[in-house]
C-alpha cells in the first residue's frame, strides 16, 4: 500500500510527531532510499519510501507502528543508514522510521558499569562522554564514526576489537523494543535491564538483534561498559608470502593472550591495492606480499607482557616488524580506509570513483586459503567481463579470542555510474557465487552486515536449513500483517498461504 500526499494518514502522523517531523519531500525520501552499498544509480527511485517520520521517543515509535499496522503500511527502520546489506532501504515504499533523534544519554550507572541510551546515538560520541568517567563502550566497527546503536542492534554488528570485548550482541545488555502492533517490550537476558546472564525463559535478546528491522524497532538500549584501556599496542608485520602470514595470524590468535583484541591478515591483492595510494605501503619493497596486524588493549603491564609474547611468535614465523610509525598510524586509520572511491582503477590504470562492496563471510581458519582463491577467481571473472569491477583484495579478521573463525572480507570496487542492467546482473550472479563458496566451506554468509541483498539472500534458506522455517514461523507470529521491512530475507514466503 502506498501513502499519497493528502492522505488522512499524514494528518494522523503529524498529530503524533508534530508537522516538522513528518517529511514528504522528494529529496527527503530519495536520501532515505540509499545506503553505501553499490546499486545502479538509474534505479535509485525504485526504493523510495512514501514518507519519512522522525520520532523522538519510544511512545512516538509505538504510535506510528500501531497506525501502520492497522492500515497495513510497510515500515522500514533507519538509523545511521550505513548498513551494507540494504536493510534500511525500502523495497515496498511505506514509512521510513528514522530514529536518529532518539539519541539521548539517559543514564550512566557507575555502580553497575552500564549506560542507557537512545538508539540514535553514535558510539564515538558516547565514548567522548564516557571518557570523563574513565569508561568506554568498545563496539568498534570500521563504521565507528558513523554507525548508530539502533543499526548495531538491527544488524547484530561485528567489532574490530571483539576478540577482547565481544561484539554488539555481547555489549548490548537489553533494550526497549517496539513490536509491529505497537506493543513495547523489554528484551535482555531475562527481564533485567542490566543483567548479563539469565536462564529464565527463551533467550529473546538474540532474536531481536540482527533481524534487519523485520521484527520491530529498538528504541532505548542499556550497554555494558569497560574501563578505558590504559595502553594500546598494534604491531604490523610484513611477510614475503601469504602462507607465512597465514601461519602467523593463526599462531597469534591461538596464543591465548588475555589482552588480545584482534588480528588481521592482508593478502597479496590487498597489499597491491595499498600500494596504489597508501603512504605506508607505497615505499615498501616488492618483496612485501602479505601483512598481519594485531591489537592489544589493557593495563600497561599486561599489554607489554602480551605484546612481547606476540612479537616473539611473529618473529619465529618469519615476520618483519614494520616499525612504530606504520603500526600506530595504520591501526588508528582502521576506520577510514574502506569506502574511498578514488581507489578505483580501470584496467588501463586510470583513476575512477568506485563504490565499495565488502563481502563479509565468517570462515573457519583452516578454510581461509581455499575460500581466498575461489573468491579472487570470481572477482577476476567480473573484471574480465567489465571495467566496472575491481578486485581490492582481502582481509581476514579474527572473530574471537580462540582463533576459530574469521570475518573474511573481499573488497570489490564497483563503478556505480556505469552499473547498467547487464553489469548489475553479472554482479548479482557473482554475489550468489561468493556466498556459495562460503557455504561449501562450512562458513556463514555474513559476519557483520547481514545477508539480505540480491544474490546472497537466495542462499540464506540453504545456510539456515530447518532454522529458516523457524524464522518464517517467528516472522508470521510476531508480524502477522507483514508490515516490518517487507521483502527482506525472502520473508514474504511466511505469508504464502494467506489469502
Amino acid at each position: 500500500m502506498t501513502v499519497l500526499i493528502g492522505d488522512p494518514v499524514l494528518e494522523e502522523l503529524r498529530g503524533i510527531l508534530g508537522p516538522e517531523h513528518v517529511l514528504t519531500g522528494k529529496a527527503d525520501r530519495l536520501n532515505r532510499a540509499r545506503v553505501p552499498a553499490p546499486f545502479p544509480v538509474h534505479r535509485w527511485a525504485e526504493r523510495m519510501p512514501d514518507l519519512v517520520v522522525l520520532p523522538a521517543s519510544t511512545e512516538e515509535v509505538a504510535e506510528v507502528l500501531r497506525l501502520a499496522d492497522a492500515l497495513r503500511i510497510p515500515v522500514v527502520p533507519r538509523d545511521g543508514g550505513t548498513g551494507l546489506t540494504d536493510g534500511a532501504v525500502p523495497l515496498r515504499g511505506g514509512i521510513v522510521v528514522d530514529v536518529k533523534r532518539i539519541n539521548q544519554i539517559k543514564e550512566i550507572d557507575l555502580g553497575n558499569r552500564t549506560c542507557t541510551v537512545g538508539v540514535g546515538i553514535n558510539a564515538l560520541k558516547l565514548n567522548e562522554v564516557l571518557a570523563r568517567h574513565g569508561l568506554i563502550y568498545p563496539d568498534d566497527p570500521a563504521s565507528y564514526p558513523c554507525s548508530l546503536v539502533g543499526g548495531r542492534i538491527g544488524t547484530s554488528g561485528w567489532s574490530l576489537i571483539g576478540s577482547r570485548y565481544g561484539h554488539t550482541r555481547d555489549l548490548v545488555l537489553s533494550f526497549d523494543h517496539v513490536l509491529p502492533g505497537g506493543r513495547v517490550i523489554h528484551v535482555g537476558d531475562g527481564i533485567g535491564r542490566k543483567i548479563t546472564k539469565s536462564s529464565s525463559g527463551y533467550q529473546l535478546k538474540h532474536l531481536f538483534m540482527g533481524h534487519q528491522g523485520t521484527l520491530g524497532i529498538a528504541t532505548e538500549a542499556t550497554l555494558k561498559l569497560f574501563p578505558k584501556p590504559e595502553a594500546e599496542f598494534s604491531p604490523f608485520w610484513a611477510f614475503e608470502d601469504y602462507d607465512s602470514a597465514y601461519r602467523a595470524v593463526g599462531a597469534l590468535a591461538r596464543a591465548g593472550v588475555a589482552t588480545f583484541a584482534g588480528a588481521v591478515l592482508f593478502d597479496e591483492w590487498k597489499v597491491d591495492y595499498l600500494r596504489r595510494d597508501d603512504e605506508a605501503y607505497i615505499p615498501q619493497p616488492s618483496s612485501v606480499k602479505a601483512l598481519v596486524c594485531a591489537a592489544l588493549y589493557g593495563y600497561e603491564d599486561e599489554v607489554r607482557a602480551g605484546g612481547r609474547r606476540l612479537l616473539r611468535i611473529a618473529r619465529s614465523l618469519g615476520a618483519r616488524y614494520l616499525g612504530d610509525e606504520i603500526s600506530e598510524g595504520d591501526w588508528a586509520a582502521r576506520h577510514d580506509r574502506y569506502a574511498t572511491p578514488l581507489h578505483g582503477r580501470t584496467k588501463s590504470g586510470q583513476v575512477v570513483p568506485m563504490s565499495w562492496h565488502c563481502e563479509d563471510a565468517s570462515i573457519n581458519y583452516t578454510r581461509l586459503p581455499a575460500v581466498r582463491l575461489a573468491w579472487h577467481e570470481i572477482a577476476a571473472r567480473l573484471r574480465r567481463e567489465s571495467d566496472v569491477f575491481d578486485d581490492w583484495g582481502m582481509f581476514a579478521y579474527t572473530n574471537g579470542a580462540t582463533g576459530a573463525d574469521y570475518l573474511t572480507e573481499i573488497d570489490i570496487g564497483i563503478w556505480e555510474q556505469r552499473l547498467d542492467d547487464t553489469a548489475w546482473a553479472a554482479w548479482v550472479r557473482a554475489k550468489r557465487d561468493l556466498a556459495a563458496v562460503t557455504l561449501e566451506h562450512g562458513g556463514s554468509i555474513s559476519a557483520c552486515h547481514g545477508s539480505c541483498r540480491e544474490g546472497e539472500v537466495d542462499l540464506v534458506p540453504e545456510e539456515l536449513g530447518g532454522g529458516y522455517d523457524v524464522m518464517l514461523a517467528v516472522k508470521r507470529a510476531i508480524d502477522p500483517n507483514n508490515i516490518m521491512n517487507p521483502g527482506k530475507y525472502l520473508l514474504d514466503q511466511a505469508y504464502a498461504e494467506e489469502p
Binding site: A231, E232, L296, D324, A333, V352, P353
Partner: protein, 84 residues
C-alpha cells in the same frame, strides 16, 4: 604564514617514487597525475590545502589513539627487550 596566490599555486617539483606515485612535499605522496586525465581530473590544490590535510591527518590519528587508550606501547621498545 602570509598568503600569496602565486606561491600557493606553485608546488615543489615532482619526483617519481613508483610507477603510480610521485612526491612533491617531504614524506607526502601523490598519485601519478597521468592517471587522472580521463575520468576524474585533479582539482586546483593550493599548497596550504595539501599541508592542511597532511597535518590534520596526523592530528586525527593521534586523537584516535588517545580516544581508545591512555598510551601507545612502542613495538620497537618491546623488540629491544626481547633481544636483551
Amino acid at each position: 604564514m602570509t598568503y600569496r596566490h602565486q606561491e600557493e599555486m606553485s608546488p615543489p617539483p615532482a619526483r617519481r617514487v613508483t610507477d603510480v606515485a610521485i612526491t612533491r612535499f617531504e614524506h607526502v605522496y601523490e598519485v601519478e597525475p597521468a592517471l587522472m586525465t580521463e575520468h576524474v581530473t585533479q582539482q586546483s590544490f593550493p599548497n596550504w590545502d595539501t599541508l592542511r590535510l597532511v597535518r590534520s591527518r596526523a592530528d586525527h590519528l593521534a586523537w584516535m589513539h588517545r580516544h581508545f587508550a591512555g598510551k601507545v606501547i612502542s613495538g620497537e621498545e618491546l623488540l629491544h627487550d626481547l633481544d636483551e
